[in-house]
């Protein structure tokens, strides 16, 4: 504190700040311009596609004859209705499950004295690294009604019950357990930053711990819960891999699998796919609007200028119960599918006659790993992926910070439009957005096409809503009084951001950049159109293995991918912890 105030005092004597009146509109204009390039321009291409039969690049804009044909076709198609209903059921059910798990988890980790919390917190993020396609494949291996490993084990134990993950309930469970970390990320940081005095007051007034949780704690972090559930719902809506692997065998279509079919058929029906995508966007727009209506006019600032430490509830003997709960979740979501992947990656073939055949060691070898690393594209794709991930995280993180700050902490005119533009890309499925970026950016002068930058820019645009939303919750919780204090001390806007906002929002910034990195590494849909032979990425290669019908190599390569992400994330955690300790010492 002392060091900061000395600096702040010195700043009083600093000369002339830039004229704010001119700076603000310029800044907003710059952001809007950037968002137009990243979001509006590709989206216009998409609308163009949905409203015509032509490809804007191939046929030129002159061939644009607008018609509502595709929209009407899509609206009238009973299969679209069914896919729409299925998508709502699967994602709605999945979101409810994700909220229950994510919230319970964040409470256990942040607010209780459950043993080994750090380990639980780290391990529970693992599902985020798993590409949806891999998750789908892993749960197919585990839960297929005919050959699933779980059923093989049940048979061996003479238990009559059989799992069937090729079903709607299978989809809901897999969605729920894999997207719980989204809810967890939002709610955990909100819980960490919450002033415990409110809860203490509740308990002093005689409320039980249980009542306090439901009447004080959860309502206070409502924006985080809502933001997390909204994000997980919308992300689930856009997922292809899980319903492709688990829904297809039972003939359950959702909107994404339907869109994939439209783009994969020969001839591909991109214009119809664009129309379906615009429907998806409408659904998301309504959800985002509803969320903003619910939250508007309320203050959720719980991080104020007072020092506090998140309170940890002493659970007594019950802490072993919460520990058991956490372990069960980790076992289901991490150990079981990883085990399935390991078995698939090391087993020559996945034909497992009975439970004993699982332990026939002659069937296991490194053959799939060898052939993956024999492929010269493997190392190239790993290297490219790391570069694109880093580019995306840095550029996207900086942009999201700029947008998040402008939207949440200033009153400049035009910030609502910025917010809206930054939220738009959330609902567009990757495959369709990929072709929109291709249409939009291939014609640009300069050599953007064919470089890693075009991939990174597409990822920045595509994941901007996720990053901005993740950051916004951090911003919403930093009380305005802290910034005001800095201004009173004579700090300029940039100085305040640098010395007050950035350090306080740092966990959020690091988390969003990490999230961006992970999402960029996993992203397939938009990569498929923008990669070239020199810029191939891991997700594209993974699809090659999957489409080649080789579960062994798919599993081996996804284990490699997971391992790389885990090492990198461990490294960033270590880095940020180190930095946090460093700053704590300085403070």
């Amino acid at each position: 504190m002392t060091a900061t105030s000395v600096e702040a005092l010195a700043a009083v004597n600093e000369v002339q700040r830039p004229p704010r009146r001119l700076a603000a509109p310029l800044w907003v204009a710059a952001l809007l311009l950037l968002l137009t390039f990243l979001v509006i321009y590709p989206l216009l291409m998409l609308v163009f596609g949905a409203l015509s039969d032509s490809n804007p690049i191939v046929d030129g804009f002159g061939a644009f004859k607008p018609s509502a044909k595709h929209f009407l076709e899509v609206l009238a198609n009973p299969n679209v209705h069914l896919a729409f209903f299925n998508a709502l059921a699967a994602c709605g059910g999945g979101t409810i499950l994700a909220v229950v798990i994510g919230l319970a988890f964040s409470w256990i980790v942040v607010r209780t004295n459950t043993p080994f919390k750090g380990f639980i917190a780290g391990a529970s993020m693992i599902p985020l690294f798993v590409p949806p396609l891999v998750a789908g494949v892993a749960w197919g291996i585990l839960g297929s009604p005919k050959t699933g490993l779980l059923n093989t084990a049940l048979k061996w134990m003479n238990i009559d019950f059989r799992f069937d993950f090729y079903s709607m309930s299978g989809l809901i469970i897999v969605f729920g357990i894999y997207y719980a970390p989204y809810v967890y990320m939002f709610t955990a940081s909100a819980l960490k930053n919450m002033d415990p005095s409110l809860e203490e007051a509740s308990e002093v007034a005689g409320a039980s711990a249980f009542t306090t949780i439901f009447t004080i704690t959860f309502p206070l972090i409502a924006p985080a819960i809502l933001a997390g559930s909204l994000l997980s719902f919308v992300v689930m809506l856009g997922i292809y891999g899980v319903p492709a692997a688990l829904g297809a065998p039972a003939n359950i279509n959702v909107l994404t699998t339907y869109i994939f079919k439209l783009t994969a058929w020969s001839p591909p029906l991109y214009n119809t796919a664009a129309a379906v995508a615009i429907l998806l966007m409408a659904v998301t727009a309504i959800l985002v609007w509803a969320q903003q209506r619910l939250l508007s006019g309320r203050s959720f600032a719980t991080v104020a200028g007072k020092a506090f430490r998140p309170r940890s509830l002493n659970l007594g003997k019950w802490r072993w119960f919460t520990f058991g709960l956490a372990l069960t979740y980790l076992f289901v979501v991490v150990v079981l599918p990883t085990l399935a992947l390991i078995i698939a990656a090391f087993r020559k073939f996945l034909f497992i006659k009975d439970f004993d055949a699982l332990f026939d060691m002659k069937q296991y070898s490194w053959v799939h790993f060898n052939s993956v690393f024999d492929n010269p594209l493997t190392m190239l794709s790993i290297w490219n992926t790391l570069k694109v991930g880093a580019l995306t995280a840095v550029v996207g993180g900086a942009l999201a910070f700029a947008i998040g700050y402008t939207v949440n902490r200033t009153n400049v005119a035009g910030r609502k439009s910025i917010d809206m533009l930054a939220t738009l890309p959330i609902a567009i499925p990757g495959l369709v957005v990929g072709v929109a970026y291709l249409w939009a950016w291939i014609g640009l002068p300069g050599g953007l096409y064919g470089t890693l930058w075009i991939l990174a820019l597409a990822f920045v645009a595509r994941f901007m809503p996720d990053t901005v939303k993740a950051l916004s919750t951090s911003f919403m919780q930093i009380h305005k009084e802290l910034e005001e204090a800095a201004w009173i001390c004579g700090r300029g806007l940039l100085g305040t951001i640098r010395t007050i906002v950035l350090p306080l929002a740092r966990p959020g910034v690091v988390a969003s950049m990490t999230l961006l990195f992970v999402l960029a590494v996993r992203e397939l849909g938009s990569s498929l159109f923008l990669y070239t032979s020199d810029t191939t990425v891991m997700a594209v290669l993974l699809l090659d293995y999957y489409e080649g019908g080789n579960v062994g190599k798919t599993a081996a390569f996804s284990l490699v991918q997971t391992l790389i992400l885990a090492v990198l994330l461990g490294f960033t955690t270590w880095l940020s912890r180190d930095a946090a300790q460093g700053s704590a010492r300085v403070g």
Binding site: N55, Y270, L350, L528, D544, G549, N550
Partner: protein, 342 residues
């Protein structure tokens, strides 16, 4: 007389001997072409085929021409076409050679391709070509595959796949609207095996898959026990020791000749030509048949896949006009018959 014969033989031999190296050269192209291709040193290859299979092809090509680096871009069929169209329109088409299974879609793009014919052009079946610029570098064929650990009474003909003993989702099928390859199979089933073949088979209860690869994997795992599959998808698995086998049925083998061409904008036109020549040569085709499980569109195949008896097995190539015309109405009927929601 005798002397004359001897002279003739001598001349013939001399001609023959002189022609030998020339023939070896001509099989893949002239000396000049090879030199020019090696000078270019690289080419870019767009393919809709399986990445791993095509990598094997590139590796084998590099055994003969190690100085030419082949970079590959692989995407699923429909997506690859969209990309080619868009890149070409923007003047940024990256491909020197394109390899695609859908002849109809490639025919629409024929303007993007340059005139080309391999040295052994006359050896190819005319019905495998849709344009003089596009050549079947790859030809695939449909086989009946089954899991050897689970099927006691293996099917021997296409008609066997309508037998009640295989009911209750024992049989897996790739859905007809999946692409050109499955449409070829469905067309064969209806035109050759009978108007009611689909209905009879659908009544058994069929497990449906979006594409061949996951179905071949499901067969090996035992999710389904019998499945019509493109032979190359299951062949490599059989060779590696998977509990599976595949047969070519006597009623006919529907084949899918690809349409491959060299783009007009090729940056390495000579390397592209040499690569195409090699893939279409006897050597290239024989490699794809014996090592990858492909078929060939050569009139006289240089090799046969395992279990292929040329006296019994008949190749079936769809009539291209009907292939285009019947596609939409028949696929709609297929969807209805099999209860597949599109």
């Amino acid at each position: 007389m005798q002397r004359r014969t001897m002279t003739a033989t001598a001349i013939g031999l001399a001609l023959g001997l002189a022609a030998l190296p020339a023939m070896a050269q001509n099989e893949f192209g002239s000396k000049e072409l090879i030199a020019a291709a090696e000078k270019e040193g690289a080419l870019t290859y767009y393919t809709a085929n399986f990445a791993e299979t095509e990598q094997e092809v590139i590796k084998e090509f590099n055994k003969r021409f190690p100085k030419i680096k082949v970079s590959m871009v692989r995407a699923p069929g429909g997506q690859l076409i969209t990309r080619i169209k868009t890149e070409a329109a923007a003047g940024k088409l990256g491909a020197d050679v394109v390899n695609h299974s859908d002849r109809g879609l490639m025919l629409e793009l024929a303007d993007l391709f340059q005139d080309y014919a391999p040295p052994n052009a006359a050896d190819y079946r005319p019905d495998a070509l849709v344009s003089p610029k596009l050549w079947p570098g790859v030809t695939l064929g449909w086989a009946i595959a089954y899991n050897t650990a689970l099927v006691k009474n293996a099917p021997k003909t296409w008609m066997d796949l309508t037998k009640p003993e295989y009911k209750n989702k024992m049989i897996g099928q790739v859905v007809a609207p999946s692409g050109g390859t499955t449409w070829t199979r469905s067309m064969f089933e209806r035109q050759v095996l009978g108007e009611d073949y689909w209905k009879k088979q659908a009544e058994l209860g069929i497990a449906m898959y979006p594409s061949g690869a996951p179905l071949s994997d499901a067969l090996v795992r035992g999710e389904v026990t019998i499945a019509p599959l493109l032979y190359n998808i299951i062949y490599t698995k059989i060779v590696e020791g998977a509990p599976a086998e595949a047969i070519f049925a006597p009623e006919g083998v529907p084949i899918i000749p690809y349409a491959d061409g060299i783009t007009k904008t090729a940056k390495s036109p000579n390397a592209a030509k040499l690569f195409m020549n090699w893939r279409l040569s006897k050597e290239g085709q024989a490699f794809q048949i014996t090592k990858l499980g492909n078929i060939t569109s050569l009139k006289e195949p240089p090799a046969f896949p395992k279990g292929w008896d040329p006296k019994v097995v008949k190749v079936w190539v769809p009539n291209f006009e009907q292939f285009e015309k019947l596609r939409t109405p028949w696929i709609e009927e297929w969807n209805k018959t099999y209860g597949y929601r599109q």
